[in-house]
C-alpha cells in the first residue's frame, strides 16, 4: 500500500493551459509539502501545510495554488502554464512540522510545450 501517492505521474501540456496534481498520504502525518525539482536535481520547497493550515508559502508565482481539503490530501493547481514550469513536482509528508523524516511520493513529471 503506497504511503504517499501522486497523480498523474506524467503530464504533457501546452503553454497557457491549467493543470492539477493530486497527492494523498496514508501515514497519518500532519504535515504535507510540495517540492519542485529542476533538471539539475535541486529540490525547492514550494508549500507546506500542517493540519490543513498553510505554514510555508515560498516565493512561488501565484499561478500556483495549493489546496488541502483534509490532512491526508494536498493538491496543486497551476494556471497559465509556462515553459519554465517544466519540472518534477514531489509531494511529501512528515510526522513533524519541520525537519523530521520526509516521505516523498514518486513525483509528477510536468512537461510544458
Amino acid at each position: 500500500d503506497t504511503a504517499v501517492s501522486q497523480t498523474p505521474k506524467y503530464l504533457v501540456t501546452q503553454m497557457g493551459n491549467d493543470k492539477s496534481i493530486k497527492c494523498e498520504q496514508n501515514l497519518g502525518h500532519d504535515t504535507m509539502y510540495w517540492y519542485k525539482q529542476d533538471s539539475k536535481k535541486f529540490l525547492k520547497i514550494m508549500f507546506s501545510y500542517n493540519n490543513k493550515e498553510l505554514i510555508i508559502n515560498e516565493t512561488v508565482p501565484n499561478r500556483f495554488s495549493p489546496k488541502s481539503p483534509d490532512k491526508a490530501h494536498l493538491n496543486l493547481h497551476i494556471n497559465s502554464l509556462e515553459l519554465g514550469d517544466s519540472a518534477v513536482y514531489f509531494c511529501a509528508s512528515s510526522p513533524l512540522r519541520g525537519a523530521g523524516e520526509l516521505f516523498f511520493g514518486e513525483g509528477s513529471r510536468l512537461t510544458v510545450l
Binding site: 539539475k40 536535481k41 513533524l96 512540522r97 525537519a99 523524516e101
Partner: protein, 111 residues
C-alpha cells in the same frame, strides 16, 4: 554563496570501493543533518539522520558530522551497483524548521 554546497558529480567508482560523499554549509546553527537517496525517476528516501556532531553507522553506510568545519560526509563501504543513485544532503536548525538542501551528487557504481 549557497547555504549548502554539494558537488553534483557524477562520481563514478568501481564496485567494492569506499565512497565518500560530502556537503559543506555556512550556517553554524544547523543541528539536524540528513542524507537522502534518490533513484532515477523515484522520490528521495531518507538514508541517514543525525543530530549535532558525531558519527552514525547503519550497515554499509556511515554519516559523519564535523560542526567545527561545517562539513558532513556519507561513507558507503563495499559499494554495489544498486547504490547508484543521486544522494542529497539536507540540514536544518530546528526540527520545526524546513530542510535546506544540497544540489545532490550523482553516484555511479561500475560493476
Amino acid at each position: 554563496q549557497k547555504e549548502v554546497e554539494q558537488d553534483p558529480g557524477p562520481l563514478s567508482v568501481p564496485e567494492g570501493a569506499i565512497v565518500s560523499l560530502n556537503c559543506t554549509y555556512s550556517n553554524s546553527a544547523f543541528q539536524y543533518f540528513m542524507w537522502y537517496r534518490q533513484y532515477s525517476r523515484k522520490g528521495p528516501e531518507l538514508l541517514m539522520y543525525t543530530y549535532s556532531s558525531g558519527n552514525k553507522e547503519d550497515g554499509r553506510f556511515t554519516a559523519q558530522v564535523d560542526k567545527s568545519s561545517k562539513y558532513i560526509s556519507l561513507f558507503i563501504r563495499d559499494s554495489q551497483p544498486s547504490d547508484s543513485a543521486t544522494y542529497l544532503c539536507g540540514m536544518s536548525e530546528d526540527s520545526n524548521y524546513q530542510l535546506i538542501w544540497g544540489a545532490g551528487t550523482k553516484l555511479i557504481i561500475k560493476p
